[in-house]
């Protein structure tokens, strides 16, 4: 196998033993990108030269006998809404098409300090608003399992890059499912950590009370390895969790005997496709066979989660994106006579339809006459959703359900009706509202070979239980080992060619 096809925990010891140089690992990854990304379209920007330079520096350090760092030499893809100093960061928006951040996000600093090498910036729905990566203002990303289908979103570029061997692992961000749903659609592992566990500093904010950055990896062991590197207190994020964290690689114990697993009945109701339900029921049997106690539970307010989510996230987005004013960075419309019309025209010309729709919805629910009816009420419903979780976690160690109601859908299938698109996040939104962690792990394939994801949720800051259950399930199954055969050219009727 080539280095770019390996898992992080397989490649690391090879780099440590100098069986593979960092330069080889990075070169092979860049070759793969050159060969396949014209088809997949996972990357907005490839940082080839910079990556090779850093690879050579790393090899020189290792040659001098310096010890290998925790992620030494691993080629990583970063979602393009995470700031990288000196490397273009677009958030897949025309508005930020030429934006070069003057600083690094904390997660980027941490990954580079741990030795990882950034190979490029991946595609997303513009400002992370969407569930298919079709809202990217650049181009759509294709699902490596079937090029006519979407990779999910908004971290679709990161998910596709990991499964197509265009990076060893990636970072995504998740506000309502944007790590877990594309992980599920692309057959990889994606973790949304507890709110506050990973610093948001340098993440281009969408809905700040729910945004979290997290790992997108080929297995659970890699997930723990990456989480250990990026998690931890950061004074630059005012909502950062201030306590000492465990070593997440220490909880990779293949044993769930005595663990109580709750199944929220609301997650198995209408809207769930038969194929996903079948795969989920088999996963549940597997967990029971592995020694878990299965228990049906209820989260009665979760059926209002999507409504509360769209009120709160749109309100926060409209406020967050007020900073896009054409003054300090980004797009500015030309020929405007005064500043007010310059701002309105810059936003009108530089932003895409989904972003505009959410700014309008957010402004509407925050306006004086609607503030109480919609915004305050949504925040109270959010309290109820969080309370439902707290109550079931008194009886259960974790909860499981499907990650998304369907497997990856066809490109263009849901772009006409925004509401239809929103429904694909129905199971992933509640954890963001409550601030609890959720992980998606592969748990099956449908008859057409499309991956299905299992979502596991745990108490706030209990990533240890989450990873232990996910790891035990993975050790007992083979789904994470399957890889797509990419049919180059099969997308040609699908349209949406890269134009930048």
């Amino acid at each position: 196998m080539r280095p770019n096809e390996l898992k992080a925990h397989e490649l690391l010891p090879m780099i440590r033993r100098k069986e593979v140089t960092v330069e080889e690992a990075v070169t092979e990854t860049l070759h793969r990108i050159a060969a396949i990304d014209g088809t997949i379209q996972a990357y907005i920007t490839v940082a080839g030269e910079q990556a090779l330079g850093k690879a050579k520096e790393a090899d020189a350090r290792l040659a001098k006998g310096e010890p290998a760092r925790p992620l030494e030499g691993l080629p990583v893809a970063i979602k393009d809404n995470i700031c990288t100093k000196g490397l273009r960061t677009t958030s897949a928006s025309r508005y930020l098409e030429d934006f070069i951040p003057p600083y690094d996000a904390t997660v980027v600093r941490r990954l580079e300090d741990a030795g990882a090498i950034i190979v490029g910036k991946t595609n997303l729905d513009e400002f992370a608003m969407g569930s298919s990566t079709e809202n990217s203002a650049m181009f759509p990303t294709r699902n490596p399992w079937n090029l006519k289908r979407v990779p999910g979103g908004s971290s679709g570029g990161s998910a596709a890059a990991v499964i197509a061997d265009e990076a060893v692992f990636a970072l995504g961000s998740d506000t309502g499912g944007s790590i877990r749903q594309p992980a599920s659609f692309c057959g990889i592992v994606g973790l949304k950590p507890s709110y506050g566990l990973v610093s948001r500093y340098g993440l281009i904010g969408y809905a700040s009370s729910m945004d979290q950055i997290g790992p997108m990896t080929r297995d659970v062991k890699d997930c723990a390895l990456v989480l250990r590197a990026i998690a931890g207190y950061d004074p630059s994020d005012s909502q950062s969790y201030p306590k000492e964290l465990p070593d997440y690689t220490g909880c990779l114990v293949s044993d769930i005997s005595g663990i109580t697993v709750g199944v929220p009945k609301e997650f198995l109701e209408e809207g769930l496709s038969d194929t996903v339900k079948d795969a989920f029921m088999k996963a549940l049997d597997k967990l029971e066979e592995l020694g878990a106690r299965i228990m049906e539970v209820s989260l009665p307010h979760s059926r209002h989660a999507l409504a509360a989510y769209y009120v709160i996230s749109s309100a926060e987005a409209s406020s967050n994106l007020a900073r896009l004013d054409g003054v300090r960075y980004g797009y500015r419309a030309s020929g405007c006579e005064d500043s007010a019309s310059m701002m309105a025209m810059s936003r009108g010309e530089g932003l895409g339809p989904e972003v505009k729709r959410r700014i309008v919805l957010g402004t509407y629910v925050l306006s004086a006459e609607n503030h109480e009816t919609y915004f305050n009420e949504a925040l109270r419903v959010r309290s109820l959703i969080a309370r439902d979780f707290r109550e079931v976690f008194e009886a259960c160690d974790c909860l499981v359900g499907p990650t998304s109601p369907t497997v990856a859908f066809e490109a263009g299938e849901k772009t006409r009706d925004p509401l239809e698109m929103y429904l694909s996040d129905v199971y992933t939104v509640p954890p963001n509202l409550a601030g609890i962690p959720g992980i998606s792990v592969p748990c099956g394939f449908d008859e057409e070979g499309m991956p299905v994801g299992l979502q596991i949720m745990a108490k706030q800051y209990d990533e240890e239980t989450l990873l232990r259950v996910a790891y035990t399930f993975e050790e007992a199954t083979e789904f994470h080992k399957r890889r797509p055969e990419i049919q180059k050219g099969a997308h040609e009727s699908a349209g949406g060619e890269r134009s930048v």
Binding site: S209, H304, Y310, V311, R328, D338, M343, G348, L419, Q460
Partner: protein, 97 residues
């Protein structure tokens, strides 16, 4: 709730967002659909519940008032669409008589 095209026009002015006529009509129709779902929030009994603004459960995060290095002014201006000296330059703000 139904949102009309005029509502969308008014809200987008508040949000300093220039919207084309056809987008205003389309958004009015789409947002009315979304509001039908959101209106269900009114059925929930939320008596006595707090407004949950953040899941972190932190209040009043203080830090020492220490001077630390910040972004260099040249770097801060490096993405400016227009500048003059050490300033961001914008079209006129005040009305001219």
């Amino acid at each position: 709730m139904i949102i009309t095209k005029e509502d969308v026009g008014r809200i987008s002015t508040l949000a300093r967002l220039d919207l084309r006529e056809d987008d205003q009509s389309l958004f009015a129709q789409q947002l009315s659909g979304i509001l039908r779902i959101i209106d269900a929030l009114a059925e929930v009994d939320t008596e006595g519940m707090n407004q949950m603004v953040s899941p972190a459960g932190l209040t009043n995060v203080f830090r020492e008032d220490i001077v630390l290095p910040s972004v260099d002014p040249e770097e801060a201006l490096s993405n400016a669409p227009d500048r003059e000296g050490a300033f961001f330059k914008v079209p006129r703000i005040m009305e001219v008589d």
